[in-house]
């Protein structure tokens, strides 16, 4: 299992990203909650004070916005995420379709085969490709050759 974070600014520039391998984690909801917590940690460490956090996991986003805190493991991670709200000037959780979350999606897939990494203000190839895909909505030549 891998969990991945991408941060972009208002001009569509990738500011940073990171990915972690998580061993022996099989529950998708736990993974989606965990990546949100990791993402918030990352954004806090990077001092991104005004943040919109997007995930394609609707149940996680729903729980975060409703402040629902079930007593299970996922609930405790959600509680952790909510406790981050005070660390930001502004923090909103948004649910997006997977197509709008492609950079993180591709990065997550990519990480499955690679080591944990953090990028700040530089863009590795795999990022650029997936980012380009979503931002410009063009696929063609760039990736083929």
């Amino acid at each position: 299992m891998s969990i991945d974070v991408v941060v972009g600014d208002n001009e569509g520039v990738v500011i940073g990203g990171s990915c972690w391998q998580v061993c022996s984690l099989l529950d998708s909801e736990v993974a989606e909650a965990l990546v949100m917590r990791k993402g918030l940690e990352f954004a806090k460490d990077m001092s991104f004070m005004n943040l919109i956090a997007e995930s394609d996991a609707s149940n996680v986003v729903l729980a975060l916005n409703a402040h629902q805190q079930s007593s299970n493991y996922v609930g405790s991670i959600i509680r952790d995420c909510i406790s981050f709200i005070g660390s930001f000037h502004s923090l909103n959780f948004l649910h997006v379709r997977r197509e709008a979350n492609q950079a993180a999606h591709y990065l997550a897939k990519y990480t499955l085969k690679n080591l944990d990494c953090i990028w700040v203000e530089e863009t590795p190839l795999v990022f650029l490709q997936s980012w380009h895909l979503i931002y410009c909505q063009t696929f063609v030549v760039e990736i083929v050759f």
Partner: protein
């Protein structure tokens, strides 16, 4: 070429044995190479007037800049195969057949295409999702957007 560099004592082209082996001769002027170009799927007729006295590097430049990728791939693969055929004749003294060389080039092209598709899929982590109207939108000025996702060996259902 090898004669000029002091490697071979014979300046004649190993493929035709009729003319001095220069770069332009090997890739364009040699009748053996002309057959390759003509019999390939590109069907280039190098005998025609427009190519006469055009140095090889000029000709190559014209054929790999601002043209379709498929043509670039064919041109470069054929050049490589001509080079390999020449080396085979030169060092192993085995005759090389035009048809066999073209088949070999076609196989390399197919292999290259399938390999590059695999590469794209490896880099992007799987088949590319189809284009849709839903796409990432930048946040307001002064805000940052954090996108998170998890992936497992089995597709995560969200």
């Amino acid at each position: 070429m090898m004669f000029k560099r002091g490697i071979n004592s014979d300046p004649l082209c190993v493929l035709c044995g009729e003319h001095n082996e220069t770069i332009s001769h090997l890739f364009m002027e040699c009748h053996w190479s002309k057959q390759i170009w003509f019999a390939s799927s590109l069907g280039v007729v190098l005998d025609s007037h427009e190519f006469r006295n055009v140095p090889f590097h000029k000709w190559l430049e014209k054929n790999i800049i601002d043209v379709e990728e498929d043509i670039i791939l064919h041109v470069l693969t054929l050049c490589y195969e001509i080079w390999c055929a020449k080396n085979k004749k030169c060092f192993e003294e085995t005759d090389v057949d035009v048809a066999a060389t073209i088949q070999k080039a076609q196989r390399s092209i197919v292999n290259f295409k399938s390999a590059s598709t695999v590469l794209v899929e490896t880099l992007s982590g799987g088949p590319i999702l189809p284009i849709s109207d839903v796409h990432w939108t930048p946040p307001f000025s002064g805000f940052y957007k954090l996108n998170v996702d998890a992936a497992g060996p089995i597709e995560v259902i969200s």
